[in-house]
Symmetry: C2
Subunit: 549 residues, 2 copies
């Protein structure tokens, strides 16, 4: 049997348990195509399969419940016929591990609870306090000594203070202009809450009064699951997919290649403001062809797309041996090094490499420390510098997509390969495209090889905060004369409808072209382009180049 | 090379890294005996090896740092020559996984921090508050809104409220008489703390004033490591070992057999009051000969020894298939079932079995749910009842040991095999020996097969609280006429120096003998023995049998 068409009779009152058995049989019997009848399936974490997962940028490794575990499979497709998976409990609906040529289509993911609290502002009181009304109720949250905690912890007796507030306008669904991350204008742990008899929350000491009707999102801090998690896969196509809610990123792939997301959406469920609890899509040390097209990304807590590698810190050098430490806690357990990889060493301030080697052997000591044996002596590599793996280089195409009303930025590009962003619409609250990597805090690596942005409409971006220009490159601490961190950035034939002055800020780049873009300035906004430490610069004449600060 | 004698030259500034490499080589080259030169070794968690571990009764599964990883090894010995391992960071110094015939000797374990705070009472203030002086400082703790948290969490942004206080008398090192777990006579989360300029802590609202000079221990709630962890091992001898501190139990073995602890000690380090953060020794589903002799167990947070199996709840029965759920969160991931095991079904109130089967197949779906295929139809097994695995039955000998000044009870015996407790000294704050298992809360299983307690001195036990009699059996919710939960309990030739009335309370037992014991009553204490639902009862004449309440 290479195709298995399920019927409603295949399901009990615990579909998660049924799917576990079905997937076990698919793996065992080499089923090629599974068809799930269109329905709403309750997916209880309690009854899901399980895998041990270390997930980059989530900060929480360990045993994870998984509804569909696609592990060491090849040439397999699931067609969900447009079904809805209503998840209950902490789980990752899809995990694809060490698998090839996998297709998943026609599925929508929602969750009854994801450690976030949405609440509508209902009153400004005379004593300066603000009342908000939780949209789905306070279930899952408690107030202790005036602190708001998520009480559905992974382990008993843990408390998760809510660490972030984001504020939406109810009419347009946009991030409230200029608000950024702390809309009470106070650090989250300084805010004093009490619960009122009618179930509403009172914030006693705001330094800013969010307008009545606005919707606040309070976030728990743990990313204990994601929508789709991929590790060491080759050839995955996800299509016709909607993620309404999940515990972390909607999609994250690490050490994988040749991935397609088509007609993949993060979307707000009816009456809600947040979709995924983190990025919509995220690629760590991925390579080959990565195609994201005909998608929309709305309401997720963070970027629509982030693609990057990982810098690791040199602890010790002995002959051909280099001892490395993965620095960021959310990078723990991500095994990016393999025999045969090309790596280079670089100082953490310039991030300009000075030496390149091939990896001959890798020894992982724990989630954080590994030992590389290189092809040639490494004595020029300085302790305290970083190592970058340059074997993972992607050909990214992001085309015909719509990005809007998410917190923070649109796309973070740190891909040493080629990146094309084409025919997209951006209405992001922060920068739309950011070249953000660093060797000292996030340790996300990758100067861009070639980045081409064309035919896009950047529509009143930057209205929330989170950035200085619609397209922006992070500055390095130091630059090297005649050396450049990025190779080529081309921004052409786009339309910019401005909310603020900054159109583009690019630096430390061999070639930068800003040409043939149509700029529609708001009354208060001038079109500013900043360019710094560029070898070859082309900028269209109708913008202010490098305005005085 | 079957023996490897290390020298000081084998060590760098990161001994954990050296030991990782040494152990890797021992596993690879089949070293039979490793000798470590006597020294103090700093063991940094950052540089340790790692294993994925699910540890019973610890409540925290996942990737764990391990200094000495003994995995799939056979016939291997380490002699530490009396060395001290000073652990830094969250780690489990020893993990023995799927190994046979292993000997470890001559090692002491300490830790710079284990999520607990010891503080001496220094002042009673006029406003009713109490000041305490942290013995090792407040490093690792913060006060937030008056709540005391451990801020060295496993994952960033988690907060661990301190959940327990225990109080010691400084002169004798005993638990303060009658104090139990909450010495401020308030729930931990109700207590309001502030930090004084001199570094002391002020407790603002105690309902009881602990005497000046007494030492309070405030506990973080996570058991994120242990001293020695064993899983699926056969033939392990630990000797000449001291555990001064660790994150959880000093020793825990699960699904293992033929284990010897000789000259193994939990001991308070100089100037400190707590040793291990949980039990000294703990055995889950262990079998074969278990010998604990010439040991001392002082200052650990919980029992000197606990031995038990595990009840699992029946969720579904279909033909020969039974779907089970491990109920307690701290039992998650512990895989007690194997093909060929004998299991029996029982109602949760009486715990008296009504049906027995052999397991033909086991399918673990996740950490909590598993499916058993039994040898014969299981339709008489009721959903909601429990299943007990009776293939793990130990022959326990606990001999020539000293148990004193620990919180709570001395020993918890739920061993369906035979248990002999002989020539031991007990000065426990709660019951010295408790037959505690239940099918509805902890789900620790096992009516005792035969328990013989002889030649012991029970010296002023029960002075802290935690129990009604020096030797006590938990009552079942319901009993069955002519059926007994325990088989045989014999208490003879012991000396009881009483602090309180209760000498023994045994019930639901086929044969109970209490004979030839010497009882030294305190002025206020009468020697009471209670016996209920016993088929064959023998009680010496000089005690009050079943006094009226």
């Amino acid at each position: 049997m290479s195709e298995w068409i399920l019927t409603k009779g295949d399901f009990s009152e615990h579909p998660a348990l049924d799917f576990e058995r079905i997937m076990r049989r698919c793996r065992k019997d080499g089923i090629r195509r599974l068809v799930v009848p269109k329905d709403t399936y309750l997916i209880e974490a309690d009854f899901c399969a399980q895998a041990y997962m270390t997930v980059s940028n989530h900060g929480h490794n360990g045993p994870k419940r998984v509804a569909f575990l696609i592990e060491d499979m090849e040439d397999f497709e699931i067609d969900f016929s447009g079904s809805l998976l209503m998840c209950s409990g902490i789980l990752t609906p899809f995990a694809l591990l060490r698998s090839r040529n996998i297709r998943i289509k026609g599925v929508r993911l929602d969750s009854d609870f994801t450690q976030m609290l949405e609440a509508r502002v209902v009153a400004h009181n005379e004593d300066g306090s603000v009342d908000v009304e939780p949209i789905r109720g306070m279930e899952g949250f408690i107030i202790l000594r005036g602190l708001l905690f998520c009480n559905r912890a992974v382990y008993p007796r843990d408390l998760q203070p809510l660490h972030l507030q984001v504020e939406y306008r109810p009419d347009t669904g946009e991030i409230e202009y200029g608000t950024g991350d702390n809309t009470f204008n106070r650090k989250p742990l300084e805010i004093q809450f009490e619960q009122l008899d009618n179930g509403n929350l009172r914030c006693l000491n705001p330094n800013r009064l969010p307008p009545i009707g606005n919707v606040m999102v309070f976030m728990g801090s743990r990313r204990v699951g994601s929508g789709f998690f991929l590790e060491e896969c080759d050839g995955v196509v996800l299509s016709d997919i909607v993620v309404y809610a999940c515990y972390g990123m909607a999609f994250i792939a690490q050490m994988s290649k040749n991935l397609t997301l088509s007609d993949f959406h993060t979307k707000r469920a009816e009456g809600r403001y947040l979709s995924a609890n983190a990025d919509a899509t995220h690629f760590v040390n991925c390579s080959g062809d990565i195609l994201v097209e005909n998608c929309s990304f709305e309401g997720q807590l963070d970027d629509a797309l982030n693609i990057h590698g990982m810098y690791t810190r040199v602890l010790e050098v002995k002959g051909r041996e280099v001892l490395l430490r993965q620095m960021h806690i959310e990078a723990m357990g991500i095994r990016i090094f393999h025999k045969g990889d090309r790596v280079r060493a670089l100082p953490t301030d310039t991030l300009i490499p000075y030496e390149e080697h091939t990896v001959e052997e890798v020894e992982y000591i724990n989630d954080r420390i590994c030992r590389l044996i290189l092809d040639t002596p490494a004595e020029h590599i300085a302790v305290g510098d970083d190592i970058e793996n340059i074997s993972a280089s992607a050909n990214l195409i992001f085309r015909n997509n719509r990005v809007q009303n998410n917190r923070a930025r649109g796309m973070l590009i740190a891909n040493i390969g080629t990146s094309l962003i084409e025919n997209c619409y951006f209405h992001t609250s922060g920068s739309s495209v950011k070249l953000e990597c660093d060797g000292e805090y996030w340790f996300e690596s990758g100067g861009v090889g070639e980045l081409i942005i064309r035919g896009c409409h950047f529509d009143r971006c930057l209205h929330g905060k989170w950035g200085k220009a619609v397209i922006e490159a992070q500055k390095r601490k130091a630059v090297l004369e005649d050396s450049y961190f990025h190779r080529r950035v081309v921004i052409e034939n786009n339309t910019f409808t401005l909310f603020a002055d900054g159109v583009a800020q690019i630096n430390n780049t061999e070639e930068f072209v800003f040409a043939n873009n149509k700029i529609i300035s708001a009354e208060s906004a001038n079109a500013h382009v900043k360019a710094d430490h560029i070898r070859s610069l082309t900028v269209q004449p109708d913008v202010v180049l490098n305005p005085e600060e």
